[in-house]
């Protein structure tokens, strides 16, 4: 009886491997959890895009918000831009982190395409990006009212991402803050 069962060992092995490999097909290796989840937004001192004021952490903290990392050299950022405008219109506070970009290019982009951001942080050298563990653009961080990073999305924010991932978190953080 036992030797009979042994005959099925390769089949079982195959089935288990197939299951794992099939699961692997649906995983995105680029989607790494941020090391900063549940950590406070790092302190920073950076100019805004217009280079008129200096922005710090306290300018961003105070409400549940999105921090969107973008750049004019980032093609995917152009793709998600209209949806960010849409979200901003619906009252979602979005802060822009212009990451390793040319100031005048970035200003022109916002002038031409519209500005969804409450504030535009200009991170020319990528220092805040480094503290956040940014490794590409676009990336979008969800901050709670206390300025703690609660979620990071790597890649484009579109309707599907917003409705299935970000919005539920956003709403629950808002009701958390309302208490």
């Amino acid at each position: 009886m036992v030797s009979r069962l042994k005959l099925f060992a390769p089949l079982i092995l195959f089935a288990v491997m197939a299951l794992f490999l099939f699961r692997g097909l649906g995983l995105d290796p680029n989607e790494m959890p941020s090391a900063l989840i549940d950590q406070p937004l790092p302190a920073f001192r950076l100019p805004d895009l217009a280079e008129t004021t200096i922005l710090t952490r306290s300018d961003v903290v105070g409400q549940v918000s999105l921090l969107n990392v973008w750049a004019t050299w980032c093609v995917a950022c152009r793709v998600e831009h209209p949806y960010l405008l849409d979200l901003a219109e619906r009252g979602v506070p979005i802060f822009g982190l212009n990451y390793k970009d040319d100031g005048s290019d970035a200003r022109k982009w916002l002038l031409d395409l519209g500005n969804p951001y409450r504030l535009d942080i200009a991170d020319r050298e990528g220092t805040l990006g480094l503290d956040l563990g940014v490794y590409g653009a676009p990336e979008t961080y969800l901050l709670d009212a206390a300025g703690v990073i609660r979620y990071r999305h790597v890649g484009i924010v579109d309707q599907q991402v917003w409705e299935s991932i970000l919005q539920p978190l956003y709403l629950s953080l808002q009701s958390e803050a309302g208490l």
Binding site: N30, M32, P33, A35, K100, L132, G133, Y135, G136
Partner: protein, 159 residues
Amino acid sequence: MKRILLIAFTGLMLIAGSALGLIETYEFSNPELEVRYQRLSEELRCPKCQNQTIEDSNAPIAQDLRKLLHQQLEQGASDEEILDYMVARYGEFVRYRPRFGGTTTVLWMAPVFLLLAGLVVLILTLRSKPEARIDKSAGLSDAEKARLDALLVETEKHS
């Protein structure tokens, strides 16, 4: 004609050479720092291009990390401090040899576990007696034996 081609070709090679020269070089105040730079930049993984070290990769983020590594070494940070700094921002993923503990336990223990599993299979296989592995029922029946003998006699006659 040939000469023009030769000159053009040489020119192209010179341009190609300068393109390779775009990878930045760092000056170190102390040769020991350079050794540590080499070692650390081979241990740190580029977060964007996931199967390359920051040494290998030409991605902007890898360039930034190399610059940062150089700065920190010059400022006198220890290897441990630098690795902690990187891990705090990019997670254990950024190291090719992640620290033991937490989520990396499974990763570190997997080879040991697989080796032990292999040993168990090996021991079980060796301990089962060779005779037990031969199926006795597979022997010849009396009728088959008689036929085999007949065939053997037959072939002997022919030779």
